[in-house]
């Protein structure tokens, strides 16, 4: 057991912490700040932040330097996750591109794709959307219907995607399309990289419970994409999608822990401000949440150790997802209990701005659904980890 980072890693932490302190405006740390910024303006501020971070050498911490990354260790990536969350740096505007598309291109992209896609993605010059879910194909990706038909050197795409994150801000979309007409299930699919700034692509925002429009629907009506803009080969989309989704396991949990712990501390502050901090039943609930949060931290160390040792995490990442998503959702149920009937009021309460936490509460409902629902994760743990029969 040795829970320290190497001297080189701690040096990186000091550099990063100093840079963050110098570059994050104080107002960003004010609870509720981002909730008060109009959605589009906030997006541009965050995109600009990504570019400054890139230019300062703090993007792609564990990516190879040839792609603009820093070439760091998994420990440095964990430190980066921890420090940026602690410093309340805004979350990335290019999450799905960074988490999924980039590593897939590094693994199986053509040289041209590697050269042209990864660096602008990392610098958030190009915002990438993911086009997987369809109205009739959610967890069951293989039943998707969006169709692509070859037309000379191009493919013409028609269909609809839903629950597309950042749809309104996207520049390009990596999307799973049925390119062999009449093909069934996993066969005949291709991963196409489609330009969203063209006439055949229409985006409609989806309004969430919280009023935010982070998700959208994307409609393709004779949208065109060069056949070369296909990742992993035409007709090979299923394998490409599976490889792509496998990178989710990179999430170690430390980012979630650090940011959830911050929410937790704010909830405790709210409890104090409302005079509920002496309520034994609420304290008990908060205690239970703390137990799960700390377990998430220990678990993140376990995962980081395995990553450093080069162990293939495989289906274990389903456990990470279950632990963080269920813990997060439970935390905001406790927050609801704290506010009681005043939880519904979208306004400062007793001089306390809890609107950011309230928005998080709505958001917490989605985390057990996207990225593989809790039901899907439990199937994976039961079948692939415990070996129970299908």
């Amino acid at each position: 057991m040795d829970l320290t980072f190497s001297a080189k890693e701690e040096e990186f932490r000091a550099d990063l912490r100093g840079w963050l302190a110098d570059n994050i405006p104080a107002e960003w740390s004010r609870p509720g700040f981002w909730a008060g910024v109009p959605e589009d303006e906030g997006f541009e501020m965050r995109r600009d932040w990504e570019q400054r971070k890139f230019d300062a050498g703090f993007a792609g911490i564990d990516w190879p330097t040839e792609y603009g990354g820093r070439g760091g260790t998994p420990g440095m990536k964990a430190i980066y996750d921890e420090e940026t969350a602690s410093a309340r740096a805004p979350s990335t505007v290019n999450a799905l591109g960074l988490a999924f598309l980039a590593p897939t291109i590094m693994a199986i992209g053509t040289d041209e794709q590697k050269r042209e896609i990864i660096r602008p993605l990392l610098r958030s010059e190009v915002i990438w959307c993911q086009g997987f879910s369809e109205p009739d194909a959610g967890s069951d990706l293989a039943s998707l219907r969006t169709a692509g038909v070859a037309d000379g050197p191009e493919i013409v795409v028609n269909g609809q995607k839903v629950w597309t994150t950042n749809a309104s801000h996207g520049d390009r979309i990596f999307t799973l399309v049925r390119t062999e007409p009449g093909s069934q299930r996993h066969r005949g699919l291709s991963m196409l990289l489609i330009d969203m700034h063209q006439e055949g692509v229409e985006v409609r925002p989806l309004r969430q419970m919280s009023g935010a429009t982070e998700f959208g629907e994307v409609f393709f009506t004779n949208a065109r994409v060069p056949a070369t803009e296909c990742l992993g080969g035409l007709g090979n989309g299923w394998a490409t999608a599976m490889l792509l989704l496998s990178f989710e396991r990179g999430a170690s949990g430390i980012l979630q822990y650090t940011s959830f712990r911050r929410s937790y501390d704010e909830i405790v502050r709210a409890a104090r401000a409302l005079g509920r901090d002496r309520d034994p039943v609420l304290r008990q609930e908060l205690g239970r949440r703390m137990v799960e949060l700390e377990c998430l931290r220990y678990h993140a160390m376990d995962v980081l150790t395995k990553v450093e040792q080069g162990v293939d995490l495989g289906s274990e990442s389903s456990m990470t997802k279950l632990q963080w998503s269920e813990t997060y959702q439970d935390l905001f149920e406790t927050f609801d209990d704290l506010l009681g009937s005043d939880v519904a009021i979208d306004a400062p309460l007793a001089d306390l701005d809890v609107t950011a936490l309230q928005a998080e509460g709505f958001w917490s409902r989605s985390v057990t659904i996207w990225g593989g629902s809790s039901q899907v994760q439990r199937n994976i743990v039961a079948e692939r980890v415990l070996g129970l029969p299908r």
């Binding site: 959610g138 069951d140 009681g340 519904a344 009021i345 007793a350 709505f362 409902r365 659904i369 439990r378």
Partner: protein, 372 residues
């Protein structure tokens, strides 16, 4: 032993449900929800609510009401909850209950017919922000206007005396108050320091009073001088909330009011809220079951996955128990059963939990196995 609704009661519930399905479905609800700047009080719906008599359920027949009880009112509340119908039905019904329970004959005659028909929209303001639902949660204080003496002991006992002459000056802030911006009348609870001794002899005016009278109920005109109404934005677009700030507002007192009447009123509100929640829970469960019967994933109906089935089965048990509990509590109030305090608490606790579980399950199982 007949633990069930009568045919008339069931028919009442069906009428509300059918009306909403035909004339105020989810699309209409959504329009109200989306119109955050609006008053959340669609006039065509309110007109129908009044015409149908749904506001008149608990009003005595002598005041143009139906003369029924909370058991009947909960039938309406449950159906309105299932349809997530917006509008000030519940606050108006509670205001009318306050007038019925504690008003003078003259006040009843003046107000109850107008409340029963929907002509007068009303609401109740019984507590301060973040405070409890009892006498300790009251955040408004009443004082006797300068130059007027408090009613002397015995006033309430003199038959025929117009108790409406009793007035108080109210100061303080109640919040959140439902549908305050559309109400023509607010029943405000206020503590009455120094009044206890003066009124204890006339406690008989408040039916079921426990002898104390440290809280009075007052009729406030929201347009009166000294009243400040501040809208609150709410995440729940199917209701509208506001703050009622009072600065020396002159208001008539309900002569029968007392802490006991306040508690009674709060219990009625709790049971009707529980009914609303039970209605929401049942509807959420029914819609989820229907969706999951039809939604196909991995080549089979999502509703055939056992993990989901078992959770829905547990939910069905919980929602059914909540329905039983609401029915029992409503009847316990009507029949003044000895365990009514426990019954109301059980109903509120069970219905709240069932609604929370049913709606979160609805979200998860519409997206859960369904959506990535």
């Amino acid at each position: 032993m007949f633990f069930a609704l009568t045919d008339e009661q069931r028919a009442l519930g069906d009428t509300v449900r059918d009306f909403l399905a035909d004339r105020f479905g989810l699309t209409a609800v959504r329009a109200v929800f989306e119109d955050a700047a609006g008053d959340g009080h669609p006039p065509e719906l309110w007109k129908a609510v009044g015409e149908q008599g749904w506001l008149a359920v608990c009003v005595p027949e002598s005041f143009d009401g139906l003369g029924l009880g909370i058991l009947d009112a909960q039938v309406v509340a449950r159906a309105l909850g299932a349809g997530v119908a917006p509008g000030p039905w519940l606050p108006t019904v509670l205001a009318a209950e306050a007038v019925r329970l504690a008003g003078s004959d003259a006040q009843r005659a003046e107000l109850l017919p107008r409340l029963a028909s929907g002509e007068l929209v009303a609401t109740v303001a019984l507590r301060g922000a973040g405070r409890g639902y009892d006498a300790d949660g009251v955040a408004v204080t009443a004082s006797v206007p300068a130059g007027e003496s408090a009613p002397s002991a015995g006033t309430g006992a003199e038959a025929g005396v117009e108790a409406g002459a009793e007035v108080g000056l109210l100061t303080g802030t109640a919040s959140p108050v439902e549908y305050l911006t559309v109400a023509g009348l607010v029943v405000v609870a206020a503590t009455e320091p120094g009044r206890v001794a003066a009124t204890s002899a006339s406690a008989g005016a408040g039916a079921g009073s426990d002898g104390g009278s440290d809280v009075g109920l007052y009729l406030v005109d929201p347009g009166a001088p000294g009243v400040t109404v501040t809208r609150l934005t709410s995440y729940d677009g199917t209701t509208r909330l506001a703050t009622l700030a009072l600065d020396g507002v002159r208001a008539r007192r309900l002569p029968g009011s007392s802490t006991a009447v306040l508690d009674d009123l709060l219990r009625r509100g709790a049971v009707l809220t529980a009914a609303d929640l039970a209605g929401i829970a049942r509807e959420a469960l029914t819609r989820t079951v229907r969706y999951d019967q039809e939604r196909i994933q991995f080549g089979r109906a999502v509703g055939s996955f056992q993990a989901l089935k078992h959770q829905l089965a547990d939910l069905h048990v919980a929602v059914t128990m909540a329905e039983h509990a609401v029915m029992y509590a409503a009847y316990a109030i009507d029949a003044e059963l000895p365990d009514l305090l426990l019954a109301v608490a059980v109903a509120k606790a069970k219905a709240s939990q069932a609604a929370r579980d049913a709606t979160s399950t609805m979200i998860q199982f519409h997206g859960g196995i369904g959506y990535t």
